[in-house]
């Protein structure tokens, strides 16, 4: 506790409603303030996760996403705004997040995760939120998070469905255990609503908060699947694969 940063009077006021959460308290808040979370892509899912983490008082966010805001981002990417079309997504995100919480330190990387940057990015964070649309990026992030023993919250969506699991090296299955190969016929653009993306992103943020503050039970070795079409939520047990080339269970 002594190594954790103190809360300022403004922060005590800002976080008043969550400081009384059972098993969280001032120590939990100071743990959040001391933490760095890497968010891979800040679109519908990652952007919503980043917003929830900023509201909760994460000390530092590293936001990774290439490209400029496009018109068809705006049905789900809540950190982007109409007046920012044609300008960098990460700049829009910083502006929106600092409007919400100026205490959060934000580093932006205006490129997507790739072989050249992934090791450095993961080395500078405590937890990863993986929310990219391409499996090449997700599998790369998974490999590096497992190698560096950093927890990773894997979050995904499609149409009215969402999925979430928390990957902890040496304890849980990793993404390669679940998906040893990129899926066939995966289309970069797929049907979805912001309400679905935000649900997945908010659940991912809650997992991050739990991991950092030591509250509750993480979604380890379990996958949450939900379908908002009929509001069905279920968790299914998932297992490590003995010959996984990444986690080598």
């Amino acid at each position: 506790m002594r190594d954790l940063p103190e809360l300022t009077p403004d922060e005590r006021g800002r976080y008043e409603w969550q400081l009384s959460v059972r098993d969280f308290g001032e120590e939990g808040q100071r743990r959040l303030k001391n933490a760095t979370v890497l968010v891979s892509r800040i679109g519908g899912v990652g952007g919503s996760a980043a917003m929830q983490l900023a509201a909760a008082g994460i000390g530092r966010l590293i936001l990774v996403h290439a490209g400029n805001v496009r018109l068809n981002d705006l049905n789900r990417q809540l950190l982007m705004t109409t007046d920012w079309i044609g300008k960098p997504r990460v700049e829009s995100a910083v502006r929106r997040l600092h409007e919400l919480n100026p205490h959060v330190e934000i580093e932006t990387v205006a490129e997507n995760v790739n072989d050249s940057n992934v090791a450095d990015l993961v080395s500078r964070c405590d937890v990863v939120v993986s929310a990219a649309p391409l499996f090449s990026e997700r599998l790369l992030m998974n490999r590096e998070a497992v190698r560096q023993q950093k927890p990773l919250v894997d979050s995904a969506m499609y149409e009215l469905e969402g999925r979430l699991t928390t990957i902890i090296a040496d304890q849980t299955p990793c993404l390669s255990c679940l998906y040893p190969e990129p899926p066939p016929n995966w289309k970069r653009e797929f049907p979805v609503f912001a309400a679905v993306a935000s649900t997945v992103g908010s659940l991912a943020a809650m997992e991050v908060i739990k991991l950092i503050a030591g509250v509750g039970e993480p979604l380890a070795s379990r996958m949450l699947t939900f379908d908002l079409r009929d509001m069905t939520f279920r968790t299914v047990p998932i297992a490590r694969q003995p010959d996984c080339p990444v986690c080598g269970a």
Binding site: E159, R163, E189, T225
Partner: protein
């Protein structure tokens, strides 16, 4: 015997339904079920099995409340009224 098969995500879109009841021979296994489904739904075939009829490794399969990996599919005997949920990989965006 009759089984319930539930489709999710892209599989639901290509099959055109969320669920169906499927007839499988007594003692049939999960790999046989997936090949049967691939034969019934040609557009779903690439999501279910490989070109040589092996269960697609990237397909998450839940039988009742237990996940079953592709490699275990041929050894996983199914029973009447089992519920098989098929979850192809999805991502963010």
């Amino acid at each position: 015997m009759k089984l319930r098969v539930q489709y999710t995500a892209q599989l639901r879109a290509v099959v055109g339904r969320a669920e169906e009841v499927v007839e499988l021979s007594e003692g049939g296994n999960l790999a046989e079920l997936l090949n049967l489904l691939a034969d019934s739904h040609s557009t779903a075939r690439p999501h279910l099995v490989t070109e040589v009829g092996q269960v697609r490794p990237s397909l998450l399969i839940v039988v009742n409340d237990s996940a079953v990996s592709a490699r275990e599919a041929a050894k996983t005997v199914l029973y009447s009224d089992d519920i098989v949920t098929l979850l192809p990989p999805i991502a963010g965006g």
